[in-house]
């Protein structure tokens, strides 16, 4: 009996919560939708307009003699896409994991996957809550930064990542 009462209480609480109007969502503000994910145990985010899809990382094929940020190639519905390891690109410390997720970034011209350790959901964040960079965020990361949120998630500039020439492999053997 007690169990049932307990469950009822939980359900009631939930119902009350759901019945409340959305908190503090002021639609007069400029909002951006951000996908949050973890890289080298830090919180990162990218605007969802640059994200095509997210899925658990399975098979991939490494390409020898390529820059180390190119984690490998994988098969997305019979097309071959590159997976990029931003941890290497940003020179972050990384422990190998067995269950990565892949975020597919996409714009009109380009499409590739980035490796991440965890997906932490989607959030609407008012643009004004994104403050410019912190002085500690230096190095190559700085160039791809959109800003830092109140919760100290590092928002990356999807457009800049997609258009980056540094992330393209173009080598010749003379």
């Amino acid at each position: 009996m007690q169990e049932i009462e307990k469950k009822k209480a939980i359900l009631k609480r939930r119902a009350e919560q759901l019945a409340k109007p959305l908190e503090k969502t002021d639609y007069s503000e400029d909002m951006v939708e951000i996908l949050l994910f973890k890289l080298a145990n830090e919180q990162y985010g990218i605007e969802t307009i640059y994200i095509k899809e997210v899925f658990p990382f399975k098979d991939y094929t490494p390409l020898p003699t390529t820059p180390s940020f190119l984690y490998g190639l994988f098969n997305l519905r019979r097309r071959i896409l590159s997976i990029i390891d931003l941890r290497v690109f940003f020179s972050l410390h990384s422990d190998p994991k067995s269950d990565y997720k892949v975020i597919i970034l996409e714009n009109a011209e380009k499409e590739f996957g980035i490796l991440c350790e965890e997906i932490n959901g989607i959030q609407n964040i008012p643009v004004k809550h994104i403050q410019p960079s912190l002085p500690t965020l230096t190095g190559i990361r700085e160039d791809f930064l959109r800003g830092v949120t109140n919760d100290r998630a590092v928002i990356l500039d999807g457009q800049k990542l997609l258009n980056s020439k540094q992330l393209i492999v173009d080598e010749t053997v003379e």
Binding site: D59, Y60, T61, P62, L63, P64, T65, T66, L70, L73, F74, N75, R78, R79, I80, L81, S82, I84, E109, K110, E111, F112, L167, I168, V169, D170, E171, T172, V173, E174
Partner: protein, 759 residues
């Protein structure tokens, strides 16, 4: 309703296509007129291009392209003068015409330079006025074609047709290239369906072979158990044991039968699957062939840009060059055409720039002052086309190339003296070698020929150069008509899969580590009695072999590849198979990747990179590869190879032993499979020669067991048996035998040659 803007945008696109056609016709006509045609023909041509200019003007007006309309108007006036014979054509006039066409071309593609436009209109009208017949400078409407239609096709209809009976023509439609390309890609994916069914067929086959072996084992066991019965009876065992025995026998019998039944159902499946393979393969092949035909275009589309280019270059260099074309109607895969467009243009520039001399130079050597550059296409061998670009100039100066190569230290003094003609010409393909004394913006940078050669290689074609000093040079490109389905050799290097394009591989074989010799710090192997540079792919690709030593076989697989006139031997750990592969791009993130040209996706969905032979050869020749992972080898005599002869008949055993010993091999013998297996597990053997029918363990089982042992996976095996049936032969090969000798027919010679081939 489609907005007016949208409608206008579509209209503009249509105009661009139409305008390009008029422009092309104008350009061709003017080029031809510059050739001093017979009067009658010339007149007709002027009339024709006058009409083209007029139609272009009409079309431009319909889409409010005032600028183009104006220029066309002026051009029309000059042409009208010419048509009526008031104008004597001069070189300056032709130059103005070409400039006009260029400007219209630019305007069509959307960039309008008003000052240039005005200048050209002025120039054109001055041409018209200079004719001294000023009053016609203003074009008279009366002289023009009756209808100034804004409708271009109507205009064409109004024009008198040259060929009287309207010929029954094949109906054609215009279609966006993107649509066809997409269709083609989707069709190409059907290849996967074919490959999947083939794989399935193979899987069934493997299962059946497995079942066959189990069947044999089980029936042997059954007969052995049956022989137990008398002994059981003799020992006077009790009824209980007898029942147990009977139970076992019944069970074995039942199992034997179900194995047979299982094999039969799989055989049925195999037949179905085989039918599917045939059916699907032929469907997919036909579909692919047909869609490839859709992508075919006549070579003449390549020729279009050439006359104008040749004219411009030769004028700039003060040369007089005429172009000759042949075989423009041969159709070629559009993708190949696109790839070879630049190389062909380069070769033609090269011919005009370096091949043909100036009129003075030519007169000095008693040639006509006018040079000829000829481009000809001929179908050769059914599925190839040979495109040749030739000039009647001075030929390639081989000595000069040698000198240049010496200076750049590409070859040594000694090598230079030994080089034959073809090899020396090929030096011109090296970066940095050019015989042009001065650098022009056309060629002479010494890069071009290398690119030509690379493109041709990439398409799976061949490039030949014939040159006769003082007579001229011919570059011959032999290319496939369609991009054949790509065939690749699936290999394994350090546990990773790769595909090597089959067309660049000239030989595959395996060698012992001991056969790699070091020459001047470079590893080489013996190939057709020549030392060929050897490098293991793991070294080129910087892969570390994580396998255990036991797994690292003593023998290495060698793939001899040839491209850009160089031959090298690549080492691999295993060769899986040769297969048809669908080439896929590496994606936009990988524009050009060292050592890889593309990738493919297997039936399983796995991505496998396709190696780029050109890069591999370059890396190897450059010597930029670290020390080999194989041990440094001494140049010592090979020890005698050991052959294990497994044969139950003592006569044949001795016979085989004698023959092989006389050929210099060390021989071990075994009387049946079981004994052979014991020897193989404990002693080093280089080749196994086995009979099939033997007591205790027969040859088939022996081979299967041997192949299951990782260390013996690649041991060469020869079957020597009297059971010459086709099925036995196939079963043996399926199980992994390397050769099959028929006991009744084999000779000393065939035995020795097969062992030599495998060792």
């Amino acid at each position: 309703m489609a907005s007016e803007e949208e409608f206008f945008a579509t209209l503009l696109e249509t105009f661009k296509i139409e305008a390009d056609e008029h422009l092309k016709a104008l350009s061709e006509g003017i080029l031809a007129l510059e050739e001093n045609l017979p009067e009658e023909e010339g007149k007709r041509l002027v009339e024709k291009i006058f009409r083209e200019a007029h139609s272009l003007k009409g079309a431009a007006r319909s889409v409010n392209q005032g600028n183009i309309q104006e220029v066309c108007q002026s051009l029309e006036s000059v042409l009208s003068e010419w048509k009526q014979g008031f104008l004597k054509p001069t070189k300056a006039m032709f130059d103005t015409f070409y400039a006009t066409l260029d400007l219209i071309g630019q305007a069509i593609s959307g960039s309008i330079d008003q000052t240039k436009m005005d200048a050209i209109i002025l120039k054109l009208s001055s041409l018209a006025k200079n004719s001294g017949n000023a009053q016609i400078a203003e074009p008279s409407v009366a002289k023009e074609k009756p209808l100034e239609s804004a409708h271009p096709t109507l205009d064409k209809l109004m024009q008198p047709e040259k060929q009287e009976p309207p010929k029954e023509k094949e109906k054609t439609i215009r279609m966006a290239l993107a649509k066809i390309d997409k269709l083609f890609q989707e069709t190409e994916e059907m290849l996967m369906v074919k490959l999947v069914t083939q794989q399935q067929y193979q899987d069934f086959k493997d299962i059946i072979i497995d079942l066959q072996i189990q069947e044999k084992e089980s029936s042997k066991l059954l007969s052995e158990v049956q022989t137990l019965r008398p002994s059981l009876n003799r020992n006077g065992s009790d009824i209980y044991e007898h029942n147990k025995y009977k139970k076992i026998l019944t069970f074995l019998d039942f199992q034997q039968q179900s194995l047979v039944a299982l094999r039969e159902s799989f055989t049925k499946l195999l037949h179905n699957s085989e039918q599917n393979v045939y059916f699907i393969s032929s469907l997919v092949d036909i579909l692919l062939d047909d869609i490839k035909k859709v992508l075919m275009q006549p070579i003449s589309s390549l020729y279009e840009v050439i006359p104008r280019m040749v004219r411009d270059i030769s004028h700039e260099l003060g040369k007089d060059v005429q172009m000759e074309f042949e075989g423009g109607d041969i159709e070629l895969d559009r993708r190949i055409l696109e790839e070879i467009k630049d190389p062909i243009i380069h070769l033609i520039r090269n011919a005009v720039d370096h091949g043909v001399g100036t009129p003075e130079e030519r007169l000095k050597v008693h040639k006509s002052p006018r040079g000829t550059v000829r481009i000809a296409a001929v179908e050769s061998g059914g599925s190839n086309v040979e495109i040749s670009v030739s000039d009647d100039g001075k030929g390639i100066d081989i000595e000069k190339i040698k000198q240049e190569a010496l200076k750049k230290k590409l070859i040594s003094e000694k090598e230079a003296s030994e080089l034959n003609e073809q090899a020396a010409i090929k030096l011109a393909f090296h970066s940095g070698i050019s015989t042009a004394r001065t650098l022009t913006n056309l060629s002479g940078r010494g890069l071009g020929l290398g690119i030509v050669s690379e493109k041709v290689d990439k398409l799976g074609g061949h490039l030949f150069i014939d040159t006769v000093k003082g007579k001229g040079t011919t570059f011959r490109l032999v290319l496939p008509l369609t991009l054949a389905t790509f065939r690749g050799i699936h290999i394994t290097v350090a546990n990773q899969d790769f595909i090597l394009p089959a067309h660049s591989v000239i030989r595959v074989f395996s060698i012992k580590k001991g056969q790699i010799k070091s020459v001047e710090n470079r590893e080489t192997i013996n190939f057709d009695n020549q030392a060929v540079s050897y490098v293991h792919l793991a070294n080129i690709l910087n892969l570390t072999d994580t396998r255990s030593d036991l797994q690292k076989e003593q023998s290495i697989f060698i793939l001899v590849i040839q491209c850009e006139e160089k031959t090298i031997a690549l080492g691999a750990d295993a060769i899986r198979c040769e297969r048809e592969v669908l080439v896929k791009s590496l994606g936009k993130q990988c524009i050009r990747v060292q050592n890889f040209m593309a990738a493919t996706i297997l039936e399983s969905g796995k991505v496998i990179p396709i190696l780029n032979p050109i890069d591999l050869v370059r890396t190897t020749v450059k010597g930029g590869v670290g020390p080999s992972r194989s041990t440094i080898l001494q140049d010592k005599e090979e020890p005698n190879k050991t052959i294990l002869v497994v044969e139950d008949s003592i006569t044949i055993r001795l016979l085989l032993k004698n023959i092989l010993e006389s050929a210099g091999y060390k021989i071990k013998t075994a009387v049946d499979g079981l004994e052979a297996l014991e020897i193989l597990q404990t002693q080093a053997v280089d080749l196994l020669l086995t009979d099939i029918e033997m007591p205790r363990m027969d040859g088939f089982v022996l081979i299967k067991r041997v192949r299951e042992m990782p260390s013996l996976k690649n041991l060469p095996i020869i079957i020597c048996s009297a059971r010459g049936s086709q099925e036995d032969r196939e079963l043996g090969v399926e199980l992994g035998a390397s050769a099959y000798l028929d006991k009744e027919h084999f000779t000393q010679q065939t035995l020795i040659s097969s062992t030599q081939r495998l060792l």
